[in-house]
């Protein structure tokens, strides 16, 4: 290396590390009389970048395969096998990172942080399942997502969760999504990753609390089908809504429903809807009034949500380390707390004036105000929309899988007599040929 490149490196280090403009001069190391050779510092490189592309490739293949197995082959066994493969590959082999669920935050951060750009592979993890869902329903949830797979694998004794409870619990997922996006946008933290309950199992280690949380969820998952997917998954919430519009989707019967009711309890996720019956006449009147009321309520809820989000900006902002630090420094400087923390010591060691930190943190708080309005309005919209959709009468003549809730696991196929007929026919056709 030439001398000038050394200097360049040094200056680049200084700039990169935010050191002041003056140089921290280095000093010649000792000259040895013996033939001692100074060891060079070696640092192992991160795993090659091509793994990412392999992952993305595997994702595409598994998505297509899942689509084929779910919509065409209609075989629970094959779906289960593919699901196990995904669990082993994306989960245990690739350690569960990056996953589509977390990628939501990477994409958000890209939009809000000028210094960050999402890697292409991560972007594919984010976008491909969405596109597939828009075409084929939640095939990603069914056989590709390792988080779904680990829960599906432990489901042994499904119990039915009442509809009312399910509807209520699902709100958590929306809140989680909103918060995940908000905190990623503010550059505070990727909470979805931080509280990912299963990734610890994939890595054989992690925060004990999170491991316990994951263990509990799996224990619940023995009885309640895929609790994370249904009640918590923030990505699942997006997939839910997109799945409502999907071009193709899971149908319980390959031909038409004969209303045999055999599949009625087949779905461990409560996604099978019964045919509707006409309402009693007086119910209509009430329903109309209720619908009108909720329609009026919707903007009110959105507004109230926005207001609440704004008012809560101070609380929300506290997840940002910079804001917590500013608060701590303020308290210490005004002798309202005893002692110091590592963080406050570290800040003081930088020699930066605290008012600068305060104004930075205040700025952040204000940005959380804007974010809070959007977050609150989103929550208001979700609750209002939920109430509205629960007040609309739907018309169903057959047993069918709910477009939004169906996780495309393929369990219901074998309950349908028509399916067995199809199998028999195909076997016969094969036999003839």
């Amino acid at each position: 290396m030439t001398r000038s490149s050394h200097t360049l490196i040094l200056f680049a280090v200084l700039l990169a590390t935010g050191a002041a403009a003056f140089g921290l001069e280095r000093f010649p190391p000792p000259q040895f009389e013996t033939d001692y050779v100074r060891p060079t510092t070696t640092v192992p490189n991160p795993p090659q970048g091509f793994w990412e592309y392999i992952d993305a490739g595997v994702l595409i293949v598994t998505l297509f395969l899942a689509t084929y197995l779910i919509l065409r082959k209609r075989s629970r066994r094959w779906i289960f096998a593919l699901m196990l493969f995904s669990l082993v590959y994306f989960g245990f082999f690739r350690k569960g990172c990056v996953c589509s669920v977390g990628a939501v935050q990477n994409v958000t951060l890209t939009a809000f942080d000028s210094t960050y750009a999402v890697p292409i592979a991560v972007l594919m993890f984010f976008a491909l399942p969405l596109v597939f869902t828009l075409f084929f329903g939640r095939v990603f949830c069914g056989a590709v997502c390792p988080l779904g797979a680990i829960q599906d694998a432990v489901l042994i004794h499904p119990v039915r969760v009442p509809r009312w409870l399910e509807s209520g619990l699902r709100l958590i997922a929306y809140l989680y999504l909103g918060a995940g996006v908000l905190f990623a946008a503010m550059g505070a933290m990727f909470i979805i990753c931080r509280y990912d309950p299963f990734v610890g199992f994939f890595r054989f280690g992690g925060n004990w609390n999170i491991l316990v949380l994951g263990g509990c969820l799996l224990l619940i998952g023995v009885f309640v089908g895929r609790p994370y997917c249904r009640f918590l998954c923030p990505y699942g919430v997006i997939l839910r809504q997109l799945s409502r519009l999907s071009r193709w989707r899971v149908t319980i019967t390959p031909t038409d429903c004969i209303q045999c009711r055999l599949c009625e309890d087949a779905c461990p996720f409560g996604a099978i809807r019964k045919p509707t019956e006409p309402w009693p006449a007086k119910e209509y009147r009430v329903a109309k009034a209720r619908l009108a009321f909720f329609l009026v309520l919707l903007p009110v809820l959105i507004g109230a949500g926005g207001w609440a989000g704004y008012e809560l900006r101070g609380w929300l902002a506290q997840i940002h380390p910079q804001v917590r630090l500013a608060q701590r420094i303020y308290l210490e400087e005004n002798a309202q707390v005893e002692g110091t923390t590592d963080a406050s010591d570290a800040f003081r060691a930088t020699g930066r004036p605290s008012p600068e930190l305060y104004s930075e943190a205040t700025l952040l708080r204000d940005r959380f105000g804007i974010g809070g309005v959007l977050f609150g309005a989103f929550v208001g919209l979700v609750i209002g929309g939920k109430l509205l959709s629960l007040s609309v009468k739907r018309r169903r003549t057959d047993y069918e899988a709910d477009r939004a809730s169906c996780l495309a696991c393929g369990r219901c196929y074998e309950y349908c007599p028509k399916e067995h007929e199809r199998w028999k026919n195909r076997k016969e056709r094969l036999g003839r040929s």
Binding site: A20, A317, E421
Partner: protein
Amino acid sequence: MTGAPPQIPANEPALGYRTARTTAKVAGVFSVVFLVLLVANFIGTSVIGPRRENHLAAMKAALREGEATDEKLSEIRQLDLRIRRNRIWRLDFAHKTGHALLASIVVFFVAGKLARVLNKRLPRPEHAPDVGVEQIREARGARWTVTAGLVILGGIVALLVINEAPLAFVVASGTEPSPVAAVEPNETGPSYASMEEKRVQWHRFRGPGGGGVSLFTNIPTEWDGKTGKGIAWKSPVPLAGNNSPVVWNDRIFLSGATETKQEVYCYDAVSGRLLWTGDVPISPAVAAAELNPMEDTGRSASTMATDGRRVYAIFVTGDIAAFDFGGRRLWYKSLGVPDSAYGYASSLETYEDRVIVQYDQGDGSEDKSRLYALDGASGRIVWEAKREVPNSWTSPIVVEVEGKSQLITLTDPWLLANNPADGAEIWRAECAGGDVAPSPIYAGGLVLAIEPYSHLIAIKPTGQGNVTETHVAWTMDEGGPDICSPVGNDQYVYLLEGQGLLICCSVADGKKVFDHDLRTDFVASPSIVGDKIYLLDAEGVMHIGQVGPEYKELAKCELGEKCHASPAFVDGRIYIRSLENLWCIGGPTAVGKAD
């Protein structure tokens, strides 16, 4: 109903069901055992380990205080070894147990699932109750839970809103602090940076002294905006403007404006992150004044300046404001909407704790032109000098002549030198005419000024009063750029015409040394770094040449974006503002290996 589902026998569990169930049970027991082992190991690590370590520490302390014997030493060493071995053993144990736990859990679930499949029974739908009523009831139930959720959320919100978030510092920072509070809390040091400090920064348009000369020699000479080679980062600049970046340590400042917004931006030199955005209000007088700057000038052509403590910005509207480095606006004032033919464009300069504003306007007959020195902390006018000159677009420079500071401004037709301390005029020379835009520079002991399309003139800055007859060192009549300012060192001075003709003269006598046609358009002014001259053309190509008796091109680096602003050269880095982005050139943020 046609055909029963296969593999679902009537009531008898299938073959192997019992085996599967037993396996599951055994695996379950094993799982629990492993789990207990893991937890025990964890507790052991966090309880027994520290106890031993403390014992060791006590023994070490005793060793220092009391008599040392070989026995004591070996005892300590053995305990130390035991602790270390134990730590490794426990890690290993945890690892193995973890895997065993996983394996047993997998067996448990496989067996459990198998048992379940083998014991599958035919679904027997019970008698369906009234489906319609049930559905209505379900929907009602769901509505109630959602409502309950809403109420819970509302309750939490109410609770949190009533108990305000503990953000006490917000009051301390204050959004609109009074100028009194804004005075630097720095009680010991001066409230402004010394000339020496400024020399290693890029605190104003074209750097210290405004001459476009950087003291650093470690400036990059190789980059490519398209491939990203040599680019540390780039960040979008929200609002457009032709002003150039100024740099203080790890902060970069620039401004941008539209008809409705005037903003100041502060970027982090390390990451390129936009740290804060400051608003500068538009004075109400602007609406009435029908301000219509030329498009080439734009609404924020004036480059900001900093004194190391505060940073100042002025806009085409005559609105000027100061911010601290944290982004708080310290003060704001309007100097009156300037009457400028192409739009106000002079950049700011700082002197001690003052900000210098060259405010030339009108046609010279209305007595409107001023030179201001404003107090940096409050914005109060410290002094003002009236001057009977028309509008100009040059920028003031503060230079040190014989140990004294002179504030030099170029107007039509006077080149003026004032004392920056009190505004008193020191000397003046008649040397330029017309619409002057290139700023004066100080090089080789001479003040050099350009009259566009005409000539370059060199004045010895040592006189008093009108020195037109006495102190002109030389005049060079071979042309004069209309936008780009000159650049020079002790030997040469360079003129850069807008169409790319580079003229080099000797500073000593003004004799032309060479000219060289770069055949491309320039708006940004040239700069000298060590023995290299940096010429940034309007297409974003940096032409790097050797300073010397002939033009020798050393490198040509493309950014791939159009550039109008003059770059800043500081400590291994170049900051270039293109029309859309702020670029930082100088290698990646992460750095290679040490030798």
